[in-house]
């Protein structure tokens, strides 16, 4: 918009609009010849056809914060999964004579009181965090989507039962479940898999997440299905004689998939944070295995003298959770159908 002083100075006295008198303009004889159908049609172009996913990809790639977050996630994944392979030490290797080193060229993150390389241990810890995140998402996707769509589509008493069950699970504190699981399953797990590197506490965390975290997804999917079920295209499919299975597969899930992915993405940082928190409290990874939470916990005793021991794992937790949250926001903006058109 032009600055005010440049705009027409209209103050009470208003300008008379300029009008043209009919027949007052002389036009070329060619100009008043009728336009051909082709000329008229050429003005109405259909835009380049784009699918939903192309559209979403375009929107996502235009979102700078989301793209940076995505880059961070990729870097962290390389750091966690490829890093340990390139490193000259393993996470449990105690290097004699190199205890409690400050960050230096040989040990960029320093070493702990047993001479273990913090960089490698942080890599391993990050790997556990990501594994927890990915595992959780997969479980949530499969169980949540199945249960949610069944409840939403079939409705009736089945829906009632499932939703009441979900509400019960939802109201139980997950920390409590994890602790109970750990205690009750420790003996069984230790005897069944005596040489497991993960440790029974970590396995319990995986099981607990699998048991608990699908509830959110199931509730979301059910809500989506209930809304979509009312849509006229579903009614039209019914009028065509479509089976329930076809309606779910072709009509309901494809339209809910954006919301499903977004919900699953938001689940990742929650799972990672909970795991870190539990490990920090000493309820997760047990020595010699390291997770970001337990690394932070280990550093507590000498925090004043060796703050870097806390700094690196804490920074990574922060970075991972920030990146996944921003990535989730970006996905939501890209996939949310409400922003379409």
């Amino acid at each position: 918009m032009k600055p005010i002083h440049e705009r027409e100075k209209l103050t009470g006295e208003l300008r008379i609009q300029k009008y043209t008198q009919p027949m007052s303009l002389m036009l070329n004889i060619e100009d008043i010849a009728p336009a051909t159908e082709d000329q008229k049609k050429s003005r109405v172009k259909m835009r380049e056809s784009t699918t939903y996913w192309q559209d979403a990809l375009k929107r996502f790639s235009q979102n700078k914060v989301a793209m940076v977050s995505f880059g961070i996630i990729v870097l962290i994944a390389i750091f966690a999964f490829l890093g340990p392979l390139a490193a000259p030490y393993t996470y449990e290797q105690q290097i004699r004579g190199s205890e409690r080193l400050f960050p230096c060229f040989a040990h960029p993150f320093g070493t702990d009181n047993l001479g273990r390389d913090i960089l490698v241990r942080t890599m391993t810890g990050t790997r556990i965090s990501l594994a927890i995140g990915i595992f959780c998402t997969l479980i949530v996707l499969v169980i949540g989507t199945l249960v949610g769509s069944a409840a939403g589509y079939l409705g009736g008493w089945l829906d009632n039962m499932i939703m009441r069950f979900c509400e019960i699970l939802y109201s139980v504190p997950d920390i409590l479940i994890i602790i109970i699981l750990q205690i009750s399953m420790k003996r069984f797990l230790d005897s069944a898999f005596p040489n497991m590197t993960l440790g029974s506490a970590m396995v319990s965390i995986f099981i607990a997440f699998a048991m608990l975290y699908w509830v959110n997804m199931a509730r979301m999917v059910r809500g989506q299905i209930l809304i979509l079920k009312q849509s006229e295209y579903v009614l039209a499919a019914k009028a065509l004689g479509a089976s329930g299975r076809r309606i779910i597969q072709k009509h309901l899930l494809p339209n809910a998939v954006g919301a499903i992915i977004v919900t699953a993405m938001y689940q990742i940082p929650v799972a990672i944070f909970t795991e870190s928190f539990l490990s920090f409290m000493g309820l997760g990874a047990s020595a010699p295995l390291a997770s970001l939470g337990s690394l932070a916990n280990d550093s507590l005793s000498g925090l004043a003298s060796y703050p870097y021991l806390m700094f690196f794992p804490a920074m990574l937790i922060l970075l991972i959770i920030y990146a996944f949250n921003q990535f989730g926001d970006g996905l939501r903006d890209a996939l949310d159908p409400r922003l379409k058109e």
Binding site: M1, E13, Q17, P22
Partner: protein, 343 residues
Amino acid sequence: MSADALDGRDHLLNIQNLHISFFTPAGEVKAVNGVSYTLRKGEVLGIVGESGSGKSVSVTALMKLLAYPGRVVDGSIWFDGKDILVQPSREMQKIRGKDISMIFQDPMTSLNPVYTIGNQLIETIRRHSAMSNSAARQRGIEMLSLVGINNPARRMRQYPHALSGGMRQRVMIAMALSCSPKLLIADEPTTSLDVTIQAQILALMKKMRQETGTAIMLITHDLGIVTELCDRVMIMYAGKIVESGSVEDIYYRTSHPYTKGLLDCLPQNSEERAPLRPIEGNPVDLLDLPKGCGFASRCDKCMKICLRETPPDFLVGDGHVSSCWLHTVQNGQDGRGNHHGNG
């Protein structure tokens, strides 16, 4: 030709060369492309257009309620001696509700479901006047009975969901008129209502117009409603005014091919079963507005120049303006005549 009818001396509202665009991820959607019009005190102006014609958007800008990513790109809006576009938002809040008020298509979304009708009515009245609570309540009850609501004192205590659609629209009208605004904007006020309720609301608006002398801008897609209520009509297409004039100008001395198409394309409620004459083609893409006249691709009288240049506004009669190149070769109105018999 007398231009007195078109100058701005006693004008309540003067909009000049308004351009509004929405800056979406897909590109710039040119919703309004150079719209100029004026409104006199007490006048009832109908703005007719289809979806995407920009009829609602221009009015939203006048209320300064244009939401992101919409923006006024160019032009000026003067209301009652004030430049609306430079008013600070505090000033605008005073203008909205007191000087300009608005009723919408869906009265439910514009009433707050957690407050009673009375609460909302009293709050609206007190926000713009120095009335005491009890005086405002009295005024609210008066307004409700004025819009034909039985037992207004009881209705004041009810919540919006307890009322039917027609009732809610009456409440909206009462609320809109409670501060005696200079201008009432009605955006498709009867579109979501049934014909019998629509008839009630139109009768009510007619009555209110006579009793309060408020200027009204009626935005609608229904040409039938316009004739019931309006003095002057503007027809919009693709963000431009294609024709404007008195109701009689528009119906009996139709000048623009689009207006003709609109009037001719629907069945006339008679025993005649001649094939309908639709306006062929589809609406233009506002993201990629072609040069020239926006209606060209659907116009059966389209000429070469229409594809290239935007037609100027031709003054085809006293206060009757049509924007079409045909007026360079013919003298405007070709009189549709009155072939609308009563069925």
